[in-house]
């Protein structure tokens, strides 16, 4: 900018100043580089993060819906309250005020937690209601903060608790389908209260049918003064369990109750001697083995003597019975004679083929394994033929019966099946002739006025079924604890679509029933009401006229 030439001395002076400047800068940079290199070599031991207590990560769970998409379990964000002990001014005040605002927390435990100044994070209570959160917020205590967490809620209330299950305080599945979700890795770890992005898990259960079954069982327990009741409904095409009710039960909101042995899911969690309903299997077995010659008669004129025990009939006929009459009158003597004709080896093989001798599993876990007689002799062969001396979980028995009614092995499931027919082998489980023979027996047992199952009839739905009245074993031998009355039903028998198995524990005799507690007077009429109510819910239209009854 200046046009005047510079003096030579001044130029040299400028150059020296520039050199000093460059040298100083270079020195500064090399010191910095050296420092960096030293730090790099020494590692990061000098740099340490402040140790902070690990905050539990939350679990986001997919929704659970019923087979028609109705919501049964979902995550909602709820505040949890925690304290940072280092920021607390007066720990006694904090503990006392929190305890009064949140009933149910342990004040002493909280106080000792707050004493530990090394901790930066102490849970006070998780999953607060909005009102509780407001109360804590209004206290305005320093060091007390909130954190949103996903909490599991069960909008269906008391229906379906045994199948849905429940979660623990960290939102991990602890029972039922909830535990299955964890086992199948369908849950995700999250920070905060993020919702799961996974598709809802659809159960095989229809919650409307589930509720109807539950309300009918509740009514039956009242009517008959029964101590417990259970029922299941199976789709015979797919093996889906449409309803699984066991009373007394527990609400998913009160999971602690599920630990009481009386409240276990009797359908999958207990094994029982089922009684005469087992004759369904005996008759099919005898037909399959080819021992039922036409016109063959079974002598039921007097009780059978086997060793020390006597086998007699509930409804003694004291005459010669045909195979069909053995079923209609539920003759223990006749069934025993049939089982002897078949023989113990063939009998055991048949039970194995029906998967009644080995434990089965479902999404809910292992079904209570069958209890087989330890030694299988002539007496065992005879008692098993009418359902004593062998204890089986109701679900496992129902699946085997379903196999006999449809002719195909059925695998029960608690999840909705995408396909319309059950997976697995289409190979026939039993001969078509056996299936038709058994179907006719079940049908006649309800339509015939002499049949034990006549009270299970539902106009328009062509019901077939078999009663079972078993003495409940207990202190002092059989019979002191009352009976287990049950009814196995399938409908419509022209093309069986649904199967139900209903049980009443220790029903008390009522006046109307002349002091009788047999299944024909207890479980059968309840099954009738059940079928009449749930069939329309399932979309099954009644057929009157030629096809129905």
């Amino acid at each position: 900018m200046s046009g005047k030439p510079k003096a030579k001395g001044a130029s040299r002076h400028h150059r020296r100043r520039a050199f000093v400047l460059v040298a100083a800068t270079a020195l500064a940079f090399s010191v910095e580089v050296g420092q960096l290199a030293l730090l790099g070599l020494k590692g990061s031991t000098a740099v340490r993060s402040d140790p902070v207590e690990t905050i539990t990560r939350n679990v986001a769970r997919p929704d659970i819906v019923d087979r028609n998409g109705r919501l049964l379990a979902t995550d909602i964000a709820m505040p949890s309250v925690f304290v940072d002990p280092r920021r607390v001014l007066d720990k006694d005040e904090v503990a006392e005020k929190l305890a009064s605002a949140l009933p149910g927390i342990d004040q002493r435990q909280l106080l000792s937690d707050l004493d530990d100044k090394a901790r930066r994070f102490v849970w006070v209570k998780r999953g607060l209601t909005p009102a509780e959160a407001q109360r804590v917020h209004d206290l305005g205590l320093p060091g007390v903060s909130f954190r949103d967490e996903p909490r599991r809620v069960y909008p269906a209330g008391e229906d379906g608790g045994h199948v849905i299950g429940f979660v623990d305080v960290e939102n991990h599945g602890a029972a039922g389908i909830e535990r299955y979700l964890d086992q199948q890795n369908l849950t995700d770890l999250t920070d905060g209260a993020t919702r799961s992005e996974r598709a809802p898990v659809a159960l095989s259960i229809d919650i409307a049918v589930q509720h109807t079954v539950r309300s009918e069982l509740e009514r039956a327990m009242m009517d008959f003064g029964a101590g417990a009741a259970a029922a299941l409904v199976l789709d015979l095409h797919t093996g889906e369990v449409l309803a699984d009710v066991s009373l007394p039960d527990f609400s998913t909101g009160n999971a602690a109750l599920s630990l009481q042995p009386n409240r276990l899911d009797r359908v999958t969690g207990g094994t029982y001697e089922l009684g005469s309903v087992f004759k369904t299997i005996t008759l099919a077995m005898a037909q399959e083995a080819g021992v039922l010659q036409p016109g063959k008669l079974y002598d039921a004129t007097q009780p059978l003597q086997v060793g020390k025990s006597t086998i007699d009939d509930f409804h003694p006929t004291r005459r010669q019975l045909t195979a069909e009459e053995v079923f209609l009158h539920s003759s223990n003597i006749g069934a025993s004679l049939m089982a002897l004709d078949v023989g113990e080896v063939a009998m055991r093989a048949f039970l194995e083929r029906l998967k009644l001798t080995t434990p089965i599993t479902t999404e809910l876990g292992r079904v209570a394994p069958p209890q087989l007689p330890p030694r299988w002799g002539k007496a065992t062969t005879m008692t098993v033929s009418f359902g004593h001396g062998i204890a089986i979980a109701p679900l496992q028995f129902a699946a085997a019966a379903a196999g006999l009614i449809t002719g195909k092995q059925l695998e029960p499931t608690f999840l909705k099946r995408a396909v319309t027919s059950a997976p697995g082998s289409d190979a026939a489980l039993i001969a078509t002739r056996t299936r038709e023979f058994l179907g006719a027996l079940l049908q006649h047992n309800v339509t015939n006025p002499e049949g034990t199952g006549k009270r299970a009839a539902v106009p328009g739905y062509d019901v077939g079924g078999k009663t079972g009245t078993a003495d409940i074993p207990g202190k002092g031998g059989y019979g002191r604890q009352g009976v287990l009355s049950s009814f196995l039903a399938a409908w419509p028998m022209s093309q069986p679509r649904y199967l139900s198995y209903l049980m009443l524990w220790a029903p008390q005799p009522t006046e109307a029933d002349h002091g009788q507690t047999t299944a024909g007077l207890t479980a059968a009429p309840v099954t009738s009401r059940l079928i009449a109510r749930i069939s329309p819910q399932l979309g099954l239209a009644p057929v009157f006229g030629d096809g129905g009854t």
């Binding site: 109705r70 209330g157 509720h211 539902v458 106009p459 009449a532």
Partner: protein
């Protein structure tokens, strides 16, 4: 010529600095808006989850059942005889023709 180029360069520098500042400022504002909206979406989703749970709770069969029993005391569960298909009704002639294009009831045969 030279001074004007310098002036232009300085002008361009200032202009681009201003533009850069404006863009940076805008980005910050938009980013804040995005995080604000994300928060709001999460909040709304949480509210929707609560309302879906409440709706399912209000529609649970056990509650409807109790309400019906308490208030609709003259009703009882439908008996199978009360169900039927339009085709089964004993209507004849033009009445049947007039109703033939109606959709069938949602019941399987």
């Amino acid at each position: 010529m030279r001074p004007s180029i310098t002036v232009l360069a300085v002008g361009a520098l200032i202009a681009s600095a201003c533009a850069l500042y404006a863009i940076k400022y805008d980005t910050g504002r938009v980013a804040a808006e995005v995080s604000d909206l994300t928060d709001k979406i999460a909040q709304r989703q949480a509210e929707i989850a609560v309302m879906r749970a409440e709706k399912a709770n209000l529609l649970r069969p056990a509650r409807i059942d109790a309400l019906v029993r308490a208030h609709l005391t003259t009703l009882s569960p439908a008996a199978p005889k009360q169900l039927g298909r339009v085709a089964d009704l004993p209507w004849k002639g033009d009445i049947a023709a007039a109703t033939s294009d109606l959709p069938p009831l949602a019941l399987q045969p």
